[in-house]
Every structure is written in structure tokens, then in C-alpha cells.
């Protein structure tokens, strides 16, 4: 696929285009991808024929179908979402080119926030995530993907998900004078890092940046807000730049990063749209379903996705951090429905 000049984009500022300037090339790229996938993925082609070109795929379909736009022999890597046991997982099929492109774009976006220097790195997770092949899913891929930004990454949890205190103390002592990088998954960090530090009465004096992602579903149920999360991270680890990212295994690479002003940003590689769930039309203001587009997916039809998350656009080209493009906010997963009907007594849930 050479319809999009990725190299050129990788040589420019990922947040340097105003929305107007971005849209001209971006829409064209999405249109080209839509045509490509309609012609190369039979299922997506059927959808396009009926619902129009550029139709959004519900993310759930990646759990139900093997969707790809390349011959099976060209698949180099299959990524899966980290579903809990028993749940269906998403399967994303990558060829060599797509896999490389994801890494390059991820690097390009993240470096805009933490710079090019590789910092001492703490991974707030267990090393077993990479050892256990069954767990090598979005979580493993995320850790590997972000590890390239650090020097000698250390895992702060042991195989039993217990905090490795000696390692932590040694790390804090060794790097007390330079900014470090921490990475992990939001809920894991809260449960196995922050809560454990609290329990053990430990307060660290690290400085630097924490990047975290993976969704707020569990923290929302515990009533923990982003602000509360940041506050506790600061209090117990000393880290004062806490950056959330929004991304999904179906669009690895072109993640949406939160800037220090607390807004999530779309880069030139991706776009966010808010969809009215009733009319399926785009809306400029107010809450709605998040539709993510990305110009990266070429080996599978994941360039336009309808998520099950609720969000809202909060600005265009106007973030005080100086990054251009759309900024948005996430409210989390849409609430499960209360369905009426007679086939429900005590069997279900």
C-alpha cells in the first residue's frame, strides 16, 4: 500500500497541522483506504456495498470475524486484545509493513511528549506478562511498544503481582537526580502499585513522567477519577506528569495522548469523531459514541471503527499546550442496556 506517504508524515510534527490543513489530506487517505479494504476484504466489501463507502466497523466484529485485507500467507503477526478468560478476543492481522509502521508512529507520537532521550524506565507490571505466551496480548504488546522509550526497563511487580520493594528502592536511589519514565495499565497501576505503596506506607521521590492506558472501566466502578488518580500518583511516587492515552489493539500505533493540560489529542495519523447513537450522524458538540479513524491499518479493515466508549470533543486547534487538531474527553464505556422482555427470570446474571 503506497497510497499514503507515511514517511513524509513521520518527518513532520504529528500535531503541527491545523484541523483545516489536516482534513484535506486526511479525508483523502481514509477514502483511499476505504476503497482498498472494500476491494481486498470480502466482508468489508459487502458492508460498503450496503451501507456506503467508509462505513464504520463496530469494534466488536474483530472478536467475531477474522478480518484481513491481505492474503493469509502475508500475515506476520497476530495481535489479540487482553480479554478475561472465557471472553472472545479481538484478532488483528498484521503484515510486516503494518507492524513496523505501528511502531514508528507510536514512537513519533510519544516522543512529542517525552522527548527523544531514553530515560531510565520502570514498568508497573509483572515480567510474567511477556513470559506467559497466553498473556502476550495487547498488554504485552503495549509494554514492548513503550519499552523502546526507556533504558534498561525494570518490572516493578514480581511473578505473583507483588511489589518488588528492594528493586524499587534501588531504582529510586540510583536515579534520584534524573527524570524517569514509568509505564503501565491504569487499573494495574492503581491496584498493584499505588494501593500497595499506600499499604506499606511508602512514598517515593521519583521525578519524570508516567504514561498509562488501558481504560477506566474498573476505576469508574471504584469511583476513581482521572484527577484523583493523578493526585495519588503524585503523592506516592513523586511523579508529577501523568499522561493517559486512549488506544485500542484494533488501532495500535496511532494512539491518542493526553497532554499536560489534561486533553486527549488526535495526531495527524488518526481522528476522533463523536457519533449520535440514534441517528448515527456526526455531532460537533455534546456526548456521543466515539468513532476512531486511523490511516495506519492497511492489512486489515480497521481504519474506521465505532467504539463502545462515550466521549465528547472539547476543542479544535485551541489547546493551551500548543498542539493542533481536535482534543477530546472520554467518559468511559457506555452503560449496559436494561432490556425488557420475557425471557429473563433468574437464569441470567
Amino acid at each position: 500500500m503506497s497510497i499514503i506517504d507515511y514517511e513524509k508524515l513521520l518527518s513532520e510534527n504529528p500535531f503541527g497541522l491545523s484541523q483545516l490543513n489536516k482534513e484535506t489530506f486526511y479525508q483523502k487517505s481514509i477514502d483511499d483506504l476505504s476503497l482498498f479494504h472494500a476491494n481486498h476484504c470480502e466482508k468489508y466489501g459487502k458492508l460498503s456495498k450496503n451501507l456506503g463507502p467508509g462505513v464504520a466497523l463496530p469494534v466488536r466484529l474483530f472478536k467475531l470475524y477474522d478480518l484481513m485485507s491481505i492474503p493469509k500467507e502475508e500475515v506476520k503477526k497476530t495481535m489479540t486484545s487482553s480479554g478475561t478468560t472465557g471472553q472472545a478476543v479481538s484478532k488483528i492481522y498484521l503484515d510486516g509493513e503494518s507492524a513496523q509502521r505501528q511502531t514508528k508512529v507510536l514512537t513519533h507520537i510519544v516522543q512529542d511528549f517525552i522527548g527523544k532521550d531514553r530515560r531510565p524506565m520502570l514498568i508497573l507490571d509483572s515480567s510474567k506478562v511477556l513470559k506467559d505466551r497466553r498473556m502476550f496480548s495487547a498488554r504485552g504488546a503495549g509494554i514492548l511498544g513503550f519499552s523502546i522509550f526507556g533504558r534498561h526497563p525494570k518490572y516493578v511487580l514480581d511473578e505473583n503481582m507483588e511489589l518488588n520493594v528492594p528493586l524499587l528502592e534501588e531504582f529510586c536511589e540510583k536515579y534520584k537526580d534524573e527524570p524517569v519514565l514509568m509505564f503501565g495499565f491504569t487499573f494495574m497501576i492503581w491496584q498493584y502499585f499505588v494501593q500497595k505503596l499506600k499499604e506499606k506506607g511508602l512514598k517515593l521521590n521519583l521525578k519524570g513522567t508516567l504514561i498509562h492506558g488501558g481504560g477506566w472501566k474498573k476505576l469508574v466502578s471504584l469511583n476513581i477519577s482521572n484527577d484523583k488518580f493523578k493526585e495519588e500518583i503524585r503523592e506516592y511516587s513523586g511523579i508529577d506528569t501523568v499522561l493517559n492515552y486512549y488506544g485500542m489493539v484494533e488501532q495500535t500505533g496511532s494512539i491518542f495522548m493526553e497532554c499536560p493540560c489534561g486533553r486527549l489529542h488526535a495526531s495527524v495519523f488518526s481522528e476522533i469523531d463523536i457519533i449520535d447513537p440514534i441517528t448515527m450522524e456526526k455531532k460537533d458538540t455534546g456526548k456521543g459514541l466515539i468513532q476512531c479513524t486511523s490511516i495506519l491499518p492497511t492489512s486489515y479493515p480497521g481504519h474506521v471503527l465505532l467504539t463502545e466508549d462515550e466521549g465528547e470533543i472539547i476543542g479544535v486547534d485551541d489547546c493551551p499546550c500548543g498542539r493542533l487538531g481536535k482534543t477530546f474527553k472520554i467518559y468511559g464505556r457506555i452503560k449496559g442496556a436494561e432490556i425488557r422482555g420475557c425471557s429473563d427470570t433468574y437464569e441470567r446474571r
Binding site: 466484529l61 452503560k335 422482555g341 425471557s343 427470570t345
Partner: protein
């Protein structure tokens, strides 16, 4: 049994039966009717009002007359009801029917806290005070899912009224019951509509409005998830314009009245994508956003299980004569609602074609009207015994 919450009555229930349509039972219903009519809180809920309306004297007496041929009928004993969790008032109808059939009743109420349940039980409790003979034969219970507790009630029941579809029926059937215990099992069912497009086209606007409101109440009102909600529409006549008029009017009605939850919208959209990707019997589709989806099939489907729309998601197909309906008229088919056709002719056709299915053929708008004939069961006769005198 410590985890059972008795909302009315106790474990020490009198399990003996009494005459069908007993004076006491009928009087209790009239009392319920007048109490609901005067109760300010009850009047806020149309479904509670419908319970009261059903209990009115004129209605009950008419039903009683059907049994006034001198035959002696008495209840079977104790009826145990496992009622649907997601419909607020069906548990109460289930109770009323078994009561009129002369039974003592243990009713497991839905675990969800619908205000309708609280109101109906408050009113019932109040009314029961004047009817001690019935009062000692009634218990309403609430408990979290427990095979053990359901099993205990199962053991002592003479009638089990099992709502909740195939899975619940299967699991309750596994529980031991008395040798002569009778099960009224409400399985998963499927319902369809037959509409004549030319009649739709030629009808006055107010007729269409009534038709569409009736259809809306049959479907959207229960998220199209009740077993009597039509999911597949058979069109007779040849008027594309008539069909369009119907769907457009329905869309306007849904836009005004239906609260489409975001997650249902996503489920419907996902369903639409799956249908388009998987099926090869689709002629075309038409969607009004996620509010109303219409899938036109090339013919009657092979299996109605593939047409289980919800939240305003319909399958449709044209037919030249009723015999094409018999293709889907298997044991799952419950209700056929109609407009612009002759229901007798349809029924005759179903019989002629030796169909296993179809228990009701009712005008559009009456799909939800629960009554003593339900799901193919004659509830009074099934839940009572006739003493054969010669």
C-alpha cells in the same frame, strides 16, 4: 430457606384449592380494581392501570360465564410461579390467573426493583385483609437466584408456572416435583405480522396512526423482546408505497416515543453489520439511523432463530399467499398480528398445512394483551380439575 424474603405471607401457607372463579376470588379482584382506580401512585403507571382494568367486574363476570355450564371445577392445589424478571406486571397476572383457577399461590417476584411491584403488592396486601381464606393461601417471595430454594418450592407445588424461556424451563424441569404436578412452561417463542400493503395505502390517516401506535406498543414498548412482539413481517398486496407509508409512520412514532439506549443502538448496528456480512438472503436493507432497521429478505427465512431482531429491528418479506407463512410456522411461532387480511382464512391455512405453531392471531396492537388464553394454554382449565360426574 433463610434467604427467602416473604413480601406477603409465610412459609406456613395453606396449600388447599378452592372452586374456580370463587366468590371470594372475584370479590378480591373487584376490590383490587377499585383500589387501583383510586390510588394516586398506582395511576401513574399505565401497566398497573391495565391490571386494574382487567380485574373489573364486567370483564371477570364475562369470563366466569364461560364456565357456568354446571360442570364442577376446582383448583389443583398450590401454584408456584417463577415470573419474568424484566416485565414489571406479568408476575401479577400470573398470580391472578392461578387464583381464578382456584389455587393457592407462591409467587417469586422479579428481582429488579420496579415501582410497579411495590405498588401492586401494597395494594394486594391491603385488599387481602378482608379475605382471610385467600390470604392464608398466598405468598409473594423474593430471593437471589438459588436452585436450592426454587427446588424446595418445586417439591410442594401442584402447578409450576415457569416464565423465562427455554433455559429457565430446562433448569426448573430438572428439579423434582410431585408426580401429578403440572408445568405451564413459557418457552422462547417467535411472533410475526401479516400486513396487506394495499390496505395500508388506501387507509385514512387516522387508521394509519392507530395501526402504527398499535404496532409500536406491540414492539418498541418492550424493546421488541417480548415473545409476542413481531420480528418478521409478511406483506401481502403489491404496494411498495403502502409499505413505505407504514415504515415511515412507524419511524416518526419511534422518533417521538422510543428511548433508544446507546448500548442497544450499538448492538443493533453490530447486528446489521453481521447480517449484511453473513446472510445471502437479503434483498436490501433500509435503516433510519439506529432507530428503525428493516431487512428485506428474498423469501421466508429458513429458520426464525436467524431473525431475532430487537429494539426496532425488523425482517420483512413479500408473500403471494398464506401458505408461504407455514414455512416458518413451527412450534416456536406464537402470535401472528395482522392488518388488512382475513384472520380466519389464515387460521384455516395453518391448519390445512399441518403446522406445529401459531397460538394466536390478533389484530396489530393486541400482541401484548395477556389473558386467560395465553401462549396456547387455556390457563383456567389447565390449572384446575374437573370433577367428572356421571
Amino acid at each position: 430457606m433463610n434467604d427467602v424474603n416473604f413480601l406477603i405471607g409465610s412459609y406456613d401457607i395453606d396449600k388447599t384449592p378452592f372452586e374456580i372463579f370463587s366468590d371470594d376470588a372475584c370479590d378480591l379482584l373487584y376490590k383490587i380494581e377499585s383500589t387501583i382506580r383510586k390510588d394516586r401512585e398506582a395511576r401513574l403507571y399505565p401497566d398497573v392501570i391495565s391490571v386494574g382494568y382487567w380485574c373489573r367486574k364486567a370483564n371477570i363476570q364475562k369470563k366466569k360465564e364461560e364456565f357456568s355450564n354446571g360442570a364442577l371445577r376446582i383448583g389443583r392445589g398450590l401454584a408456584f410461579h417463577i415470573t419474568p424478571g424484566n416485565i414489571p406486571v406479568n408476575f401479577f397476572f400470573s398470580f391472578l390467573f392461578a387464583l381464578l383457577a382456584g389455587n393457592a399461590n407462591i409467587v417469586r417476584v422479579p428481582s429488579k426493583d420496579f415501582p410497579q411491584i411495590r405498588i401492586l403488592l401494597r395494594i394486594l396486601k391491603e385488599c387481602l385483609a378482608k379475605f382471610p381464606e385467600i390470604e392464608k393461601r398466598v405468598a409473594f417471595v423474593k430471593y437471589d437466584r438459588s436452585d436450592e430454594i426454587t427446588g424446595e418450592f418445586s417439591k410442594i407445588a401442584d402447578v409450576r408456572v415457569i416464565w423465562g424461556g427455554d433455559r429457565t424451563v430446562a433448569s426448573v424441569r430438572e428439579m423434582p416435583s410431585k408426580p401429578r404436578c403440572i408445568d405451564i412452561a413459557f418457552a422462547d417463542r417467535f411472533s410475526v405480522s401479516v400486513i396487506d400493503s394495499e390496505s395500508v395505502l388506501s387507509s385514512e390517516p387516522q387508521v394509519i396512526e392507530r395501526l402504527v401506535t398499535g404496532f409500536y406498543n406491540d414492539t418498541y414498548l418492550m424493546d421488541q423482546n417480548a415473545c409476542s412482539s413481531p420480528r418478521l413481517i409478511f406483506w401481502t398486496g403489491n404496494s411498495e408505497e403502502g409499505k413505505e407509508r407504514f415504515w415511515l409512520s412507524l419511524y416518526e412514532k419511534a422518533k417521538k416515543s422510543y428511548n433508544l439506549q446507546a448500548s442497544v443502538a450499538v448492538d443493533k448496528y453490530t447486528r446489521l453489520c453481521q447480517d449484511l456480512m453473513d446472510r445471502d438472503d437479503i434483498a436490501k436493507q433500509k435503516s433510519f439511523g439506529n432507530l428503525l432497521n428493516i431487512i428485506s429478505l428474498k423469501g421466508a427465512p429458513e429458520d426464525t432463530k436467524s431473525c431475532e431482531g430487537f429494539g426496532g429491528y425488523f425482517y420483512q418479506t413479500d408473500i403471494n399467499d398464506f401458505s408461504e407463512i407455514s414455512k416458518v410456522c413451527d412450534e416456536r411461532l406464537q402470535t401472528i398480528t395482522y392488518f388488512g387480511i382475513d384472520p380466519k382464512e389464515l387460521a384455516q391455512d395453518i391448519i390445512k398445512n399441518n403446522c406445529l405453531g401459531c397460538d394466536r392471531i390478533v389484530p396489530i396492537g393486541q400482541a401484548m394483551d395477556i389473558d386467560l388464553m395465553w401462549d396456547g394454554f387455556d390457563l383456567i382449565r389447565t390449572m384446575s380439575r374437573k370433577i367428572d360426574i356421571r
